[in-house]
Subunit: 210 residues, 2 copies
């Protein structure tokens, strides 16, 4: 068994989906949480391949890029679909969630109050509905393919489900009504939250705003 | 053999790496180029799963997200490394090139001349050197692992090499000196450009600014 170490800041951010993959797979790892703005990070930074986090270490070998890390772990843990096409559909959803993350990031980093409100309106009126529709279509398409699992791709939980769950967690704190008109997405979220290998973890993990 | 159709605008943009993958693999595909701003696109848009391009059709099934499409094709065509770790290193480079693309996009979309110049300076002084260093480290690391191929990962050309080649093509038109101090990256670029399965394609493809 490989020895895994995930190095990331002490937030969910770009590290949480990887943590959830380890949890679902039941694979132990060192969850190295570097305090944000700490001297420790200044000292570590130059040793990280791209001078950013997260970094996954596998038997001492380093891997950068959060999405690459998630896909690598998902393949190792058989959480990325059963066929080449299912794997592609999993990755399509993960990349779609990255698009959503970038839209929400505009709100996070905007300092000007007027512009922040404009972004907020744009998110609520345009962005969230667009992504909700894409996800609903995926869920329904999976069911039409005789997968009544309630997951996004194939018969089992995959990286796609975790990515959707985590990517919506922060937006739901600033815009709690996002899923009000989307019962299937509410049910999907509940399914992940109560998954037998995730529910304890989600209930007990450190509370962080992002 | 699957029947492939790549639907994208008539530019390189987010479709060109997929076209290069087909070319390297010697796999025929329909290269559907939709004129930008054409009525045709207005009519097609609602039939595309995420209302954007590129879309890859495989025996009529649709796949969105340019990076997902590239990784899917690279796996199908055995152009993404030979081991799980090599595949991860290929994807790490592809995601790193996406970071670079997003930095360059800021320059493309900035209308204000003063801000555009500031972004230009930032690209030249900070961004390009950072990415050049990451790529040089990958090339040297691969060689140290007894791969004298001159490619970024493993013994053969992969999606990573194509991604680097294509992502630098536009920046080199606005900042031609990017690689002046990086002889290994110049050699790598030359290696791709003269690859026996790519040189004709690169010489004869439609000339597009992006």
């Amino acid at each position: 068994m490989s020895k895994y170490k995930l190095i990331y800041f002490d937030v969910r951010g770009r590290g949480e989906v990887a943590r959830m993959l380890f949890t679902v797979a039941g694979v132990s790892f060192e969850d190295k949480r570097v305090p944000v703005d700490a001297v420790e990070w200044d000292e570590m930074k130059s040793k990280m391949p791209q001078h950013v986090l997260p970094v996954l270490e596998v038997d001492g070998k380093q891997l950068s890029q959060s999405l690459t890390i998630c896909r690598y772990l998902a393949r190792e843990f058989h959480l990325c679909g059963k066929t080449a096409w299912e794997q592609a559909k999993v990755e399509e959803i993960v990349d779609t969630m990255e698009d959503l993350r970038l839209e929400v990031a505009k709100w996070i980093y905007e300092k000007n109050e007027t512009k922040k409100n404009e972004i907020s309106e744009h998110l609520k009126e345009q962005v969230y509905p667009k992504f909700a529709k894409i996800l609903e279509t995926s869920l329904r398409g999976n069911e039409e393919n005789d997968n009544s699992s309630g997951y996004l791709v194939g018969e089992n939980l995959t990286l796609a489900d975790l990515s959707v769950f985590e990517t919506l967690t922060f937006p739901l704190t600033i815009h709690p009504s996002i899923l009000d008109d989307h019962i299937e997405l509410q049910q999907h979220r509940h399914r992940i939250k109560t998954h037998k290998r995730l529910s304890d973890y989600i209930s007990n993990r450190p509370l962080r705003p992002v």
